[in-house]
Symmetry: C2
Subunit: 320 residues, 2 copies
């Protein structure tokens, strides 16, 4: 299959063939020139999927939420792609299974595609590869693409905050350290969800979030989206249908107000930026040859400062 024609692979992805989608994602992760050509080809077929970002701190129940959401979407006949950005080994490059394993009852359904991305450590490219996976699923005809990330880490927040609809999941009763992290992602929400609402302390979390949202509402703009705070329980299924309906309403709101164009634009900006960063990183990190290595040598001996070296690095990339 290694010799599969580029256009044949792209055609199979466009037909929604599961094995080709998986293979295309793996190729895209390598960031090689061939993959770039294919991604450029696929890009022309994107733009139909609703890209939903879902984030929450560790322990918020976001992975269970994604699973339940996917089942609900399937119930209404929609195809769902999931790109889960997993914190994982910077050395092994492999994703931790963990949460993903629990999704196994979804994996036999061809209308659901789950991709778990590893944090790629020094090799970088996590954000770029994740956004590639979103494009592949979009081009392959998935109606909804859910990007799930833990709500910490610049790359992770970068990716989720440029989704068309951003859902932030909070759980009742998390510790101090966790709450501090949570504060960093609350502001990017289009929809707030409190999970585990079967628990007795859920009401406090709902009230706190609603209070916070009330503070942030700007008066006098009836066209503005009012960020809802919704209670759910994956256990009982409470609030899940309502959540799907609200995600759909948000998308409808974006379409009606024309705000969808701004969202598409910010996603594309991030996409271009992450590809550019990835090009810089891949031409530099771990290179022991010639010009790149020489740059580091000169900084080591303090013949050059890191800022001047960075400018030289960018020039060197363009001369390549």
């Amino acid at each position: 299959m290694a010799g599969m024609l580029q256009s044949e692979m792209v055609r199979e992805v466009l037909e929604g063939r599961v094995r080709s989608i998986a293979r295309m994602m793996s190729r895209a992760e390598t960031g090689k020139a061939e993959a770039r050509g294919q991604m450029a080809e696929l890009y022309r077929h994107t733009g139909r999927a609703h890209v939903v970002g879902l984030t929450g701190v560790p322990g918020s129940g976001k992975s269970t939420m994604v699973q339940v959401l996917a089942k609900t979407y399937r119930g209404s006949g929609r195809k769902v792609g999931i790109v889960a950005i997993d914190p994982s080994s910077p050395f092994s490059g492999g994703a931790i299974l963990g949460d993903r394993v629990r999704m196994s009852d979804l994996t036999s359904d061809p209308g659901v595609f789950i991709r778990s991305m590893a944090t790629r450590g020094a090799l970088g490219g996590l954000a770029r590869a994740s956004l590639d996976a979103v494009d592949i699923l979009d081009a392959a005809g998935f109606d909804v693409v859910v990007v799930e990330t833990v709500g910490v880490g610049q790359d992770e927040v970068d990716v989720v905050q440029v989704a068309q609809t951003v859902v932030v999941v909070s759980a009742p009763g998390l510790g101090d350290d966790i709450q501090a992290i949570k504060a960093g992602i609350l502001e990017i929400a289009d929809i707030h969800v409190v999970s585990k609402c079967d628990r007795s302390d859920a009401n406090k979390t709902l009230t706190d979030l609603r209070g916070m949202m009330a503070l942030g509402v700007r008066a006098g703009d009836p066209a503005a989206w009012k960020v809802p705070v919704m209670g759910t329980s994956a256990e009982s299924g409470e609030g899940i249908e309502e959540l799907v309906a609200t995600i759909d309403s948000h998308r409808a709101h974006l379409d009606e107000t024309g705000a969808i164009e701004a969202r598409r634009r910010r996603l594309l900006e991030m996409r271009i930026l992450k590809i550019a960063e990835d090009i810089v990183r891949s031409r530099f990190v771990g290179r022991r040859d010639g010009e790149m290595s020489g740059l580091v040598d000169r900084v080591m001996t303090r013949d050059l400062d890191p800022y001047s070296a960075a400018v030289d690095l960018l020039s060197a990339i363009n001369r390549d």
Copy 2:
């Protein structure tokens, strides 16, 4: 003070003046040309500090560990700089206090400097600014610079893993989601610390980690550093002196084997890379003018694909 001469500010930083150090860090965060010049000047005076990376998942007790470590260093007369990378609002740009407040008993000591870095969201530059802060503290004569990050997020892991000595803090009895994250940083440790060893379930965590480390030991290399697994309790002070001694041993080991040069090199590589990424990001994100904006327009209309746009972006930066 805004009109302070560049060289005067640099001189004051080199003299270790607290207000100038703080001001220099704020200037460096802006990434403006003037700050770059000053950073380049300061860089010539770096290279003496021992850069210690300290990471752990939320709830691991790493912030308390940093505090206790700092006090112990002070007890032996060493000056300690702390760069804490806080997950925080991508919009406000301000750091959450939280943990930092608890450090207040250290803040009146001029031999301790604590800088809390905000996650900078779409503006980027977190890793670059954090590494700038390390250089500033190094140049200002701090003997040890501790970089504290939560162990998730590519930028955060990038920064901590290039420290000369990497300490990974684990706490007994954390949940599943947290454990999955932890797996991603275990492999970067030069020293493992189990916190909260006054707790009854600490022994299991110590045993698990020691088992994992035993699996990873390569036979036949007596010169290799054997990663220790140490128990500590911030409450009782147990193991803290030993931890400081072990961090010193690791540094001595790096010096004796010459491995310190490779560590310095990988820190510099990351530093140059993050500056280059920051240049790319700052010339592109949110720019509504001319060439950059036109690039996004063409990708929006699918006249151009994101990969070609990224290459064009890098060329445009060099023509600037």
